[in-house]
């Protein structure tokens, strides 16, 4: 029985292997109809997207989420009013909505983290967040290794984490650096400068440069990660994005009239900050990155890289457990993930030590 010839993946290399003859069809066959079939199927199934917003209170996280999806996802906490005591520990709130646009259904889950960085001693305040992210990976893993598994495993893994940096104008703070270092290994992180309307344009640029420098010094790899650029077009596009990271954003959910148009903005005594105006802030860039152009990419990287990293760590870990007689009980997934290798594209692992096969 001749085994089928093994072919290299089309996404990694452009030249076609000489063993796979490339044939030109002599006429129209109809293969490209498969694209439409895929679209119809995808639209029927709907999409899922899970986003997490992290930052200290008062930076405008809830407002930003409302602005991004143009709906009242969260009731934004009105400033000045203390709604109950500040939570003593970090809590995670998740809310799920289904939004539809032109026949495309999107199940959106937003996770908020009130209480982050608000205590006096913020040591290990990232543990609950990492625990939550790993918990979602664990849930998916458990579903995946069932014998009788569902047709479509519900995806609750966090696809993107938006980190809000306070607009001090100086540089990243130790808490930011600690958190980003830990987080960028587990999830796609997009840092943004919050409440950017308190900085002038020059201050913004300086701040941005300094943050970029900080990120480089501490080798924090934020999304879009350089190692995943597949071809030259991706590289060019992502380089442009990387130039502008972190985006300086302003969130607003009230509408005002400017020059006869109705725009979203913040009204102050000295003018109206328009959210969607590129000259005022970079909110459109953030929105385009997250939703219009890179949403699928975020999901892919989460699934193919971060989830696989977690899985490898988890499966390897269980082999290091002390063996007892009879059944071995697995440790519950630790809150702090063990030092996993940095984001490494899966196909690069072939160069590492040979994989441990089950």
């Amino acid at each position: 029985m001749d085994p089928p010839r093994q072919c290299p993946s089309p996404s990694s290399s452009r030249p076609i292997s000489p063993r796979t003859p490339s044939c030109e069809t002599l006429g129209y066959v109809g293969i490209e109809a498969v694209l439409d079939q895929m679209k119809i199927k995808a639209m029927k199934m709907g999409f899922e997207f899970n986003i997490m917003v992290v930052g200290q209170s008062g930076l405008g996280k809830s407002t930003m989420v409302n602005t991004l999806f143009k709906s009242k996802i969260w009731k934004s906490t009105p400033s000045g009013l203390a709604l109950g005591p500040i939570p003593q520990t970090l809590q995670l709130h998740s809310v799920t909505h289904v939004i539809e646009e032109k026949g495309v259904k999107l199940k959106l889950t937003v996770t908020d983290t009130p209480g982050f960085g608000d205590q006096i001693n913020n040591d290990k305040c990232w543990d609950p967040i990492l625990g939550y992210i790993n918990g979602q990976y664990e849930q998916y893993l458990q579903e995946e290794i069932l014998i009788t598994r569902q047709r479509h495993i519900p995806d609750t893994r966090v696809h993107c984490c938006v980190y809000f940096v306070a607009p001090t104008g100086h540089s990243l703070r130790p808490l930011d650096i600690e958190f980003l270092q830990r987080l960028c290994r587990t999830v796609n992180v997009v840092p943004v400068i919050a409440r950017a309307d308190s900085l002038t344009m020059e201050e913004r640029e300086d701040f941005r440069r300094r943050i970029q420098h900080n990120l480089r010094t501490h080798s924090i790899d934020v999304y879009p990660q350089e190692c995943f650029d597949e071809d030259i077009n991706d590289k060019i596009l992502n380089c442009k994005i990387r130039e502008r990271i972190p985006f300086a954003v302003v969130g607003a959910d009230r509408e005002h009239v400017v020059n006869g148009r109705c725009v979203l903005g913040r009204k102050t005594k000295w003018g109206i900050v328009e959210v969607e105006n590129m000259k005022h802030c970079e909110f459109p860039l953030l929105r385009d990155l997250l939703i219009r152009s890179h949403l699928q990419d975020l999901k892919d990287i989460t699934h193919n890289v971060h989830y696989e990293n977690y899985r490898v760590g988890r499966l390897n870990e269980s082999h290091m457990l002390p063996r007892g007689p009879g059944w071995v009980t697995l440790d519950p997934a630790p809150a702090n993930s063990p030092a996993l290798p940095g984001p490494s594209k899966v196909c690069r692992w072939a160069q590492d030590t040979p994989s441990e096969e089950y």
Binding site: C7, C23, T25, L35, M38, I147, R151, L315, L330, E356
Partner: protein, 450 residues
């Protein structure tokens, strides 16, 4: 074969629930269950580009499609594939004298506008040629299982790369039925029955230009009734999506498709069309009145390729995976009905196998030590014997030597005594001689005097 039956049972239940599983559980019910509310947006967000993003990623990765062609030698499998994809795939005619059924797989890369398709065609060589056909369909089943197994192994690896993986699982099986006009052959029936729970079967009537229209109608009805009465589950085109439901439903009524394949071009009217030329007329491949080729191409490629792939992955592969894992002793629910995890079972099995291995190692070590001891004892024994022999020989040698010494001494004494005797006798002789000489002299002298 209880596993076979079990597999059929699983498959039947799946078929029964197919219609309500594949259609999305209505969003409202789902939302009620999960307490999700729908929001209306107050402006344009822009995620309607999501399907396009998905499609772009797929274009980058390329598509994979694997077709298995089962049919007797010379029934027109290669020609039909050539005609379907409008390309001349290189292939030689196979001989009729193969002792066993072999499967030959070839992969080609096709490109149409911006879609890259990696097409694998698997042909059965020698099917139906043997005198004894009992083993004919087993290699096919084995091949399909082997592809599932390869995918399963990849999925279970610790460091895996599924998105890079060249998917070789068979997505569609074109089963070629000979145009006898009567009914299904026994071999066909048996083969289809063993394949229906593993792959999407699409039966086609090959060389349909050998049957007339009325005979064809009767033949189709006969075939379908035979398939139904024998419980063979062939692939039904999906009718749950409104856009394609109507056309799929009507096509389902035309199964099995009667096809004609040809890459030769013949001038009809003032166009060149693909056709087969006979003295009594020209059979045009792409003419719907002449054969169902266009329907087959439409259904297989243009409308349902994605569905075929999905069915293979979500139904046939999952079935295989479940059976395989259960065979290996894993289950989702352990004793006392507590949910087990695959992880724990791996661990336990691993522990068990490790323990066994330890035990075996110990045994072998013991055996080895035992053998060494025995051998040593034997060798020691032999050494001792040799030593004894040596001693004995030495002693004998010593005695001999002493004897010889004794003899030599005696001999020497004798020699000495002999030589003494000789010496004394010589002296005596000399004396007597001298005396006699003197006497002689004296006598002479005396005689002289006298």
């Amino acid at each position: 074969m209880s596993s076979e039956e079990a597999r059929h049972l699983f498959f039947q239940t799946h078929m029964a629930t197919k219609s309500c599983m594949s259609s999305q559980v209505s969003v409202d019910e789902q939302k009620k269950r999960e307490n999700i509310r729908s929001l209306t947006m107050s402006g344009h967000v822009g995620f309607e580009s999501l399907p396009d993003q998905l499609v772009n990623r797929s274009i980058q990765q390329g598509f994979c499609f694997n077709i298995l062609c089962v049919g007797e030698t010379g029934i027109g499998k290669s020609t039909l594939i050539d005609t379907l994809f409008n390309t001349n795939f290189e292939d030689h005619e196979s001989s009729h004298f193969c002792p066993h059924v072999r499967l030959k797989a070839q992969t080609y890369e096709l490109q149409e506008s911006n879609v890259r398709l990696k097409l694998t065609i698997v042909n059965t060589v020698g099917f139906g040629d043997q005198i004894n056909k009992e083993e004919s369909y087993q290699p096919i089943v084995d091949y399909i299982d082997a592809q599932f197994e390869a995918y399963l192994q990849e999925e279970l690896k610790i460091k895996r790369s599924l998105f890079n993986y060249h998917d070789s699982r068979v997505h569609a099986c074109l089963y070629f039925i000979s145009p006898t006009g009567h009914s299904l052959k026994t071999l066909d029936l048996l083969a289809m029955k063993s394949l229906d729970s593993k792959v999407n079967i699409i039966p086609v009537i090959a060389k349909a230009d050998a049957i007339s229209k009325t005979e064809l109608q009767k033949f189709k009805i006969k075939l379908m009734s035979e398939l139904v009465s024998n419980g063979v589950q062939i692939y039904q085109f999906p009718t749950d999506d409104e856009t394609v439901a109507k056309i799929n439903a009507s096509m389902n009524g035309h199964l099995p498709f009667a096809v004609v394949g040809s890459m030769d071009e013949v001038k009809v009217g003032n166009k060149l069309v693909k056709a087969r030329q006979y003295p009594w007329g020209i059979v045009q491949v792409e003419n719907e009145n002449h054969c169902d080729f266009v329907k087959l191409r439409e259904m297989l490629i243009c409308t349902n390729m994605e569905d075929l792939r999905e069915q293979t992955h979500t139904r046939h592969y999952e079935l295989y995976r479940r059976c395989k894992l259960e065979e290996m002793g894993f289950s989702d629910v352990g004793p006392e009905n507590k949910p087990l995890s695959l992880q724990e079972t791996y661990e336990a099995k691993r522990h068990q196998i490790y323990g066994e291995r330890q035990r075996k190692e110990e045994e072998m070590k013991q055996m080895f030590v035992q053998r060494v001891k025995e051998k040593e004892a034997i060798l020691k024994e032999a050494e001792r014997e040799l030593q004894a022999k040596f001693e004995h020989l030495k002693r004998v040698h010593q005695e001999e030597r002493m004897k010889l010494e004794e003899k030599r001494r005696l001999l020497e004494e004798e020699i000495i005594s002999f030589s003494k005797k000789k010496a004394t006798s010589e002296i005596y002789q000399n004396q007597t001689f001298m005396g006699s000489n003197l006497k002689k002299d004296k006598d002479r002298k005396n005689s002289n005097f006298m």
